[in-house]
């Protein structure tokens, strides 16, 4: 049993690398999209605000699995042919973007209104208000939940295994298909996911404590 699992380790490592790559792409792309849309939600004109609100509430209201099947099977149906890897990344990014929008909205809303008014009073432009007054303060409230939310991207990435993409989850299932060693391999997989995510949540907690001084 041990030798079979040892033999499969390079294959599992490859799957793990793909899990990290998918998570990295999703986290990076959703950060950009989420911050842009989040600013649109807080400061944009009414139609943009409604559009972002509907987008965020819809995405957060359905299971990621449904979103993923919708994107994966739905896009080709309307004539958009993405490789399955990118369809999966797109679906997970949409899901994560909705989360980032809410983190950003919450962080900005937590900054007292007086800050914005004071900045306006001393004649800062809208852009200066955001970059020199609001964002530096909101950043500290945004960062801990965002890092903690990265674990959702890592956990969500396990769903790409259902689209035939060989990430860690799929690699484990394939090795079990050959060796029938279900229990040791699932436990090994759980420990790998746990190690990554636990490190992330510890980092989040540490940051939260470090930024605790602004919590009144």
């Amino acid at each position: 049993m041990a030798s079979q699992i040892l033999y499969a380790l390079p294959f599992l490592a490859k799957g793990f690398a793909l899990t990290l790559w998918v998570s990295f792409l999703v986290v990076t792309l959703s950060l950009v999209a989420g911050v842009l849309l989040g600013v649109g939600l807080v400061y944009g004109p009414a139609p943009l605000r409604w559009a972002v609100r509907i987008f965020s509430d819809t995405i957060r209201g359905i299971p990621i699995l449904v979103l993923m099947f919708f994107v994966y099977y739905g896009l080709p149906a309307i004539g958009l042919h993405l490789p399955s890897f990118w369809a999966a990344v797109l679906a997970l990014t949409l899901f994560k973007t909705a989360q980032v929008i809410e983190y950003l909205r919450g962080a900005v809303a937590s900054i007292p209104k007086g800050q914005s008014e004071a900045a306006m009073a001393i004649g800062l432009t809208f852009r200066q208000r955001l970059t020199s007054v609001i964002f530096p303060q909101a950043f500290r409230r945004f960062l801990p939940p965002w890092i903690n939310g990265v674990t959702d991207a890592v956990k969500g990435s396990a769903l790409v295994s259902l689209l035939g993409i060989t990430d860690l989850m799929q690699a484990i299932n394939q090795v079990i298909g050959r060796t029938y060693e279900a229990m040791p391999l699932y436990i090994l997989g759980a420990l790998i996911y746990f190690a990554v995510n636990y490190a992330l949540s510890l980092a989040s907690r540490r940051l939260e404590r470090r930024f605790a001084f602004i919590r009144e």
């Binding site: 819809t58 209201g61 359905i62 299971p63 699995l65 449904v66 099947f69 919708f70 099977y73 739905g74 149906a77 309307i78 004539g79 674990t151 890592v154 956990k155 969500g156 396990a158 769903l159 295994s161 259902l162 989850m169 484990i172 299932n173 079990i176 029938y180 279900a182 229990m183 699932y186 436990i187 997989g189 759980a190 996911y193 746990f194 995510n197 636990y198 949540s201």
Partner: protein, 221 residues
């Protein structure tokens, strides 16, 4: 483009979605009920326990929260029966998994609620001569419930959405029904539009109901 929407086939097979939704709700309700018992018991135990028990409960919570649900579902359905002489159906297996999973999330919710109960209330309970059990049932738990209800509602709705993972072990819930229609009729866009609407509407009905409960219990802090 050139994709013409046609919902006829969806309505013809709508029983797959409707029956699926009912099963999703059933899975969610049973798992959440068991998870609530686990969560409440462990949270109450945690706040009054010594270091060892705390460490064990924390290990359970952290482990479950940091592993993908799909892996836990596989582990319980395909893994556990290979080492223990047990046989169970896919729905039972999923309920088992989601109960343990929701328990871990609910321990956290209840624990932070218990710790937020003002010290003065417990002292007041002691001053008027309540026993420890009475202090728990009449002072601590009601106050804790009021504090945690918003977080509790969010966790419940999130767990309802997690029932979609049951489809990976062929439990015929809503997501499984959607896939069945997808593969058998190829009305892909239509079936996922309807499924999305069904999850959204159910989620909002649950949210609305839970908000009513919150309002009912929200008294002066």
């Amino acid at each position: 483009m050139g994709y013409a929407l046609n919902f006829n086939l969806i309505w013809r097979h709508f029983d797959k979605l409707w029956g699926g939704l009912l099963l999703s709700l059933e899975l969610a309700v049973i798992s959440i009920a068991i998870g609530t018992v686990i969560g409440l018991a462990l949270a109450v135990w945690y706040v009054s326990a010594g270091r060892v028990v705390r460490a064990i409960i924390a290990a359970y919570v952290e482990f479950i929260r940091n592993v993908p649900l799909i892996l836990l579902v596989y582990l319980v359905f395909y893994g556990v029966p290979t080492v223990v002489d047990l046989a169970y159906s896919a729905p039972t297996s999923f309920v088992l998994t989601l109960s343990v999973y929701s328990g871990a999330y609910l321990v956290e919710v209840f624990r932070s609620g218990l710790e937020a109960v003002p010290r003065g209330q417990l002292d007041a309970g002691r001053a008027i001569g309540l026993t420890p059990w009475q202090r728990l049932v009449h002072v601590r738990l009601p106050t804790m419930l009021r504090i945690t209800l918003p977080a509790l509602s969010n966790t419940f709705i999130s767990l309802f959405k997690d029932t979609s993972i049951a489809s990976v072990i062929s439990v015929p819930e809503l997501t499984f029904g959607a896939q069945w229609i997808n593969f058998n009729t190829f009305r892909i866009v239509e079936v996922y539009l309807v499924t999305t609407a069904m999850y959204l509407v159910t989620g909002y009905i649950l949210l609305f109901g839970l908000r009513l409960v919150e309002r009912r219990f929200r008294a002066a802090r």
